[in-house]
Amino acid sequence: MPLLEVDALCKSYDGSAGAATLAIENISFNVERGEFVALVGPSGCGKTTLLMCIAGLAAPSGGRVAVKSQLVDRPPPDLVLVFQEYNRSLFAWRSVLGNVLFGLEAKGRGGKAADERARRLIGLVGLEGFERHYPWQLSGGMQQRVAIARALAYEPEVLLMDEPFGSVDAMTRLELEDALLAIWKELGTTILLVTHDIEEAIYLSDRVHVLARRPSRVVETVAIPLPRPRHQVTTRAEPSFMELRNRIYRRIADAG
């Protein structure tokens, strides 16, 4: 039984002229426990809408989403979404520690044990020594690390990530990718990540679902057999990495 099931999901918006715009058409896929799955597609292909539906933050127009066989009709308790706009999602009035503690408080955890766990997670995302800092005192990459630590503090079984590294510079992006892989290995959390960066999708995941634009649909699912642990230089230099990249690129270009 898959941990996350997306079955014939559709989402349409009411247009201005009364005509409904179809944003997502009939998307189906599953995510198994412990898997790292990426959804890759061009900008404006409804990726964020799809994640909002999976996270229970938007209602689909058709089809269904289930987490552990439970129909998602509100934000499910075993799943957390990490937003692309970390600067809008972090609580500016809470310190780094306070933000991470929020994830634990939301789960009903408090006291010394929660404090220790929060500090451990802050260390895990590489922010040791910044516990007392406020988000505005941190760089974009560091802010997204806080957002990830806060999400992990909630101990979700599924972590949804909406272009989590879309707003940071290229070097930071590579660092954060490796940090995420290390966390995934350590905690075994199931991750579904959305990106428009084909190489990022291949580098991180076990499987890539390729989305086409307007209406959004899965045009191909590509297994990524690259060995782990992966390495920014050697993995990306492998011929099979190049083949996968070209195959996915062509698929997206053809689907237009």
Binding site: R88, S89, Y134
Partner: protein, 258 residues
Amino acid sequence: MRADRRFNLAGLGVFAALLLLWELYSRAGGVESYLPPPSAALKALTEPNVARALFGHLAGTLGRFLGGYLLAAALAVAAGVVLGYSRFAYSVSEVIIELLRPMPSVAIIPVAILCLGIGDAMMIAVTIYAAAWPILLNTIDGVRNLDRTLVDTGRTFGLGRVKILWQVALPAAAPYIATGLRVSLPIALILVTTSEMVAGVNGLGFFILDEERSLRPANMYAGIVVVALLGYALNRLFVAVEARALAWKRGLQAKGEA
């Protein structure tokens, strides 16, 4: 808004020069009856029986101010959160708000006297009424401007509406609420003083008017000095508390401006 830590020497000099001019003018001229020299007001302040009386009036004014201001804050923040959150609640109250808001608040004093009689309840009621508006409107604004992503963040962490209100909406709106509180502070003091003048039996407003009517202008000025110092002290206290409570916001703004 930031308090300058150095003394404003030029400003203090102008103030001292004006005081000196006043002193000389009233000593030289024949206007003593309504414009006693500042030294006379100062002397009145140091007279034991005046000082004792003023202390009692100050306590009365401060008590009514705190009662009215704090109750206004509690009520207006609560109402503002509801009105900012719920389109329906706002639309049913919009006409009332738009009609009452521009009305000078002192116009409510006779109504309050009719309904509540003369006494502390009346004075606190008009203070609440007047001080509530800026807090209410700023709180509505703050909750309205709440970032959708923040609410969705609360929701994805499984928070219900009430918890999102408390843990997300309210702190996010705190800078707006603080602005409302800062604007309301002098308004509350104005209403306390005015209602004491109209219907008080003690308090600084009562004292100032009573001394004027008793042809003791020096004592009247002493009362004015005390109420001015009260307003100044309350504002300084507010700024200090706000700087502490919203330290996170100050840094954010400094960064945005840089």
